[in-house]
């Protein structure tokens, strides 16, 4: 059963901080990322993109481009023909427009040529006849009856009558009697809060190298968080069986959810098929911003009632998210996560997804949760201010704990929220003095965490060293933590284990690296695979000794006789058993396949101090401390790294980052100069406190840690800014002009 995996024990390897195995390649420039691979005879792919936010494509004339010397293939939506249904169809149409361009930057054609220069020249020769249509890029305008219809045919039954066709889905969660709850409150506050769309901002642009053979078999190299999912999507789009396409994940230069789907990969495969040669396709930064998935923008109404002594009596929220021209379920996650940190008798959330003429959103670290929790945590703080209550005390008073029926349904098991809040309360940061124009903010954060389908194969090599083959791209040090868990379980040094990420043909299916699942689920499968190998090692030792298999146990990397009738033999180390394996039945290995459950939710609390310059409206982060439950930190450096990285992305979201659309429906800031992510000089140290409340669903107690960290900063920074300037902003990002305006209007 998934919930009783955990066993308390003393660890040898877990919790130490060894050098990660892939590190040396990454500090010497040897590591190969998406754009770093080459093949003989390789062509360069380039994509032509719509300058219009919404247009019907009357026709595309590619004859001149195809005739250009050096051009080997041209593709348009017509090549992706009669595609299927559901999400794969959406992914295909997003990769290459069918008959409508749905946003500024939507791909309309692509070429493969012998050089970059020829490919660029060819794009200029393609003539697209557009019938420009009315567009809409903002949530309220898109929801209004009579708004231009962005993309027809997606409205689900859950949507009541009276909405524009751009509203595609409605989700509802909650329990209890709201009316009675609000009636019991001493203070009720209702607010509307907004967040801008932000991009994952991975530094490595999406890139791939595709090679389709004339026999319909293909190979694809790409930077992705999930090469099995890439294979599934691309095989479906190309109309081939999955086993015909082998996908290899390159080293990945950041993903944060944005590389859980495909954008250029099907285009490169189609070009390669037509050209009969390998095609490399690398997005420019401009293309990454305009046509890979940012996250949603949001408008959220929150209403919370509280008693004079700080007990929340009722809470409700309506969330409206836009995620571009295709449907998505991010708002459902938002509606589920909004009040997850609270133990509430009466709660209800309703979420609406809205289509706009913007790029198809992709997952971004805890998708849907940061904006929802920003809205809730802002209103909770405002109530605390109004009622003169300590915001941390109030959160403790209302905190979800073991046995709480969560606002989205399930009842929580062992969770770390209270311990995390208490750690924040006890920390010197919480009581440190503040100067003029300075403020302190805090916020809770939450993410569900996932488990999912996982395969791991572990082989004991002939010299007793160990290879672990896993199928999840390593986006932040997971090979290190996987190797550590294998070493721990086998009782051998970390250095004797090598973990590699296999291609799709070399190992069973693995779900995408998402949902903070890898250290949890791949770790679990690795431990079980190691246990299977240990069992086999014991059996082989028993054969060598001529005793019963049951009379052998495994300790510190050795088989040992145990029990009354075992006899006395010197412990047999793994290398001796391995060397003799040809004579005891052949190679020794273990493997494990599982659809892992019991991932265990994750909570965190962030404390943030800011100073706001009253002359310029600029906010400086002075001090930042993160408290998060990791269940068990396998490699604490990389746990801290996840927490710090998430926090800084959230700080960027709170202060600077936003997709800005002009009246013409075009993205105004598709580059790192105008879409400004935090830089080193914007930040102080990001301090971390790791709590370890074991997750019952993992043998070592691990919980995913990757996503929760991006959730609290939005409200933590906003609450700190409000504290500093004495007035509250209800919109992110809090760029200097907005803060100045708020100060002036008081």
């Amino acid at each position: 059963m998934a919930l009783d995996e955990y066993e308390k024990r003393d660890f040898q390897v877990i919790g130490s901080r060894p050098v990660r195995p892939d590190g040396i390649d990454k500090v010497t420039g040897r590591a190969l990322y998406g754009a770093d691979a080459v093949l003989p005879g390789m062509l360069v792919g380039k994509v032509l993109r719509s300058p219009h936010p919404h247009a019907r494509i009357r026709s595309i004339d590619t004859r001149a481009a195809a005739a250009l010397n050096g051009v080997r293939a041209v593709v348009t939506g017509a090549d992706f023909g009669e595609i299927r249904k559901g999400e794969t169809r959406n992914v295909a149409e997003n990769a290459m427009a069918f008959d409508h361009a749905l946003y500024d930057g939507h791909a309309v054609a692509a070429v493969a040529a012998t050089s970059e220069a020829v490919a660029r020249e060819a794009l200029k020769l393609i003539e697209v006849d557009y019938e420009v249509l009315p567009h809409v890029t903002e949530i309220a305008a898109a929801m209004a009856p009579g708004a231009p219809v962005v993309h027809a045919g997606f409205v689900e039954d859950s949507v009541p009558d009276g909405f524009s066709e751009n509203v595609t889905a409605r989700h509802e969660f909650g329990h209890g009697d709201l009316e009675a709850g609000f009636a019991r409150a001493d203070k009720v506050i209702a607010r509307t809060l907004k967040t801008a769309a932000t991009h994952q901002g991975y530094i490595e642009p999406n890139a791939c190298l595709a090679s389709m053979g004339p026999d319909g078999r293909g190979d694809l190299w790409c930077c992705t968080q999930g090469h099995y999912f890439v294979r599934q999507l691309c095989a479906e789009i190309m109309g081939i069986e999955e086993s015909r396409l082998r996908v290899t994940a390159s080293e990945i230069g950041g993903g944060f959810g944005g590389k859980t789907t495909v954008f250029v990969e099907p285009v490169a495969l189609m070009l390669s098929k037509k050209a009969g040669a390998p095609v490399k396709l690398v997005m420019s930064r401009n293309e990454v911003f305009r046509a890979s998935g940012p996250t949603v923008s949001s408008e959220i109404d929150v209403k919370i009632g509280m008693t004079r002594d700080g007990r929340i009596t009722a809470a409700e929220a309506e969330l409206r998210y836009q995620g571009g021209a295709f449907p998505n379920i991010t708002v459902m996650f938002g509606a589920m996560a909004a009040f997850a940190a609270y133990d509430l008798g009466a709660v209800r959330t309703v979420g609406y997804n809205v289509l706009t003429n913007r790029p198809k959103q992709a997952a971004y670290r805890a998708p849907g949760a940061p904006m929802a929790i920003y809205a809730v945590e802002s209103v909770v703080n405002e109530l605390c201010e109004e009622l003169g209550l300590d915001p941390l005390e109030v959160r403790l008073k209302n905190a979800a704990r073991k046995g709480t029926k969560s606002s989205y349904g399930p009842t929580f098991n062992d969770i770390g929220l209270v311990a995390t809040l208490e750690a924040a309360q006890a920390h010197p940061h919480y009581r440190a003095p503040l100067g003029p124009n300075q403020g302190r903010g805090l916020s809770c954060g939450f993410w569900f965490n996932f488990g999912g389908n996982t395969s791991v194969s572990l082989s004991v090599d002939m010299d007793g060293s160990v290879s672990v083959t896993e199928g999840n791209p390593d986006i932040g040090g997971s090979r290190a933590s996987i190797a550590m868990m294998a070493a721990e379980e086998l009782g051998i040094p970390f250095e004797r284990v090598r973990a590699i990420v296999a291609d799709t043909a070399s190992l069973g299916h693995n779900d995408v690296t998402d949902g903070s699942r890898v250290t949890f689920a791949v770790g679990l499968a690795t431990i079980k695979a190691a246990r299977a190998a240990k069992k086999e090692l014991c059996k082989r030792a028993a054969m060598m000794w001529g005793i019963d298999e049951e009379a052998v146990t495994w300790e510190n990397g050795c088989a040992k006789p145990s029990g009354p009738n075992a006899g006395s033999f010197e412990p047999l180390p793994i290398e001796k058993i391995a060397r003799k394996s040809p004579r005891t039945g052949g190679p020794i290995a273990g493997h494990h396949e599982v659809n892992a459950e019991g991932a265990g939710v994750s909570f965190g609390v962030h404390l943030c101090d800011v100073e706001v310059d009253p002359e310029t409206g600029h906010t400086k982060i002075l001090r930042y401390t993160i408290f998060q439950d990791a269940g068990k930190a396998i490699h604490p450096d990389y746990v801290e790294g996840q927490m710090q990285g998430g926090a800084v992305q959230g700080i960027g979201w709170a202060l600077n980052e936003e997709y800005i659309y002009g009246k013409d429906g075009r993205l105004q800031n598709p580059g790192f100069l105008d879409y400004r992510i935090p830089v080193a000089s914007d930040l102080p140290d990001i301090d971390t406190v790791i709590l370890e409340i074991p997750n019952p669903g993992h043998p070592y107690g691990v919980r995913g840690v990757g996503e929760t960290g991006i959730v609290p900063p939005l409200a933590a920074v906003s609450n700190a800014v409000s504290h500093a300037i004495g007035t509250r902003l209800y919109e992110l990002p809090m760029s200097p002009p907005k803060i100045l305006k708020a100060i002036r209007e008081g």
């Binding site: 050098v19 590190g23 010497t28 420039g29 930064r285 986006i475 926090a647 935090p678 000089s681």
Partner: protein, 159 residues
């Protein structure tokens, strides 16, 4: 388009290449010379992933033309380790876990090395401002700054 012949020194080795007049040094390094350590994160001078030094000066190689390398001395991340011995910056980045995905790492290492050559004892703030042109989206910079300061201390100790 006719190509220009360029003679240069890369990581101490005399190197010749042909390139077009509008080709960037980054493209030459990556596509012509297969030195893929320098990365293209933006192509517009905003991310620092393509950092190399040109005659000792830190540059964004996406903003330098290949033909400008004529007669110059270029160093890239591939030239940082000497004979299998890692540079102290590389070692500290490993020891202190100053990388996650690692795609920003080559540029940051090259930039940090250029800083320490100018200023062997930088303050934390000086490191933060010097590296402000090198974007990292994974780490929040905390461990990167600590690793650079630790490497600086190491290098001073060794000197």
């Amino acid at each position: 388009m006719s190509k220009t012949h360029v003679t240069t020194t890369i990581n101490g080795t005399r190197t010749e290449f042909l390139c077009e007049a509008n080709e960037t040094l980054l493209t030459v390094l990556r596509d012509r010379l297969h030195l893929t350590g320098a990365k293209e994160g933006c192509g517009s001078g905003d991310c620092g992933a393509c950092s190399v030094t040109l005659n000792g000066r830190l540059v964004a190689s996406c903003l330098v033309l290949g033909v400008e390398a004529e007669g110059a001395e270029i160093t890239t991340v591939e030239g940082m380790a000497e004979g299998g011995e890692l540079h102290p910056l590389q070692q500290k980045f490993l020891d202190l876990a100053a990388l996650q995905c690692g795609v920003c790492t080559p540029g940051i290492l090259v930039a940090a090395k250029a800083l320490l050559e100018k200023n062997p004892d930088p303050s934390e703030q000086e490191v933060r401002y010097w590296l402000a042109g090198n974007l990292c989206r994974c780490t929040g910079y905390d461990k990167i700054i600590k690793a650079v300061l630790a490497a600086a201390a190491d290098l001073r100790g060794a000197a």
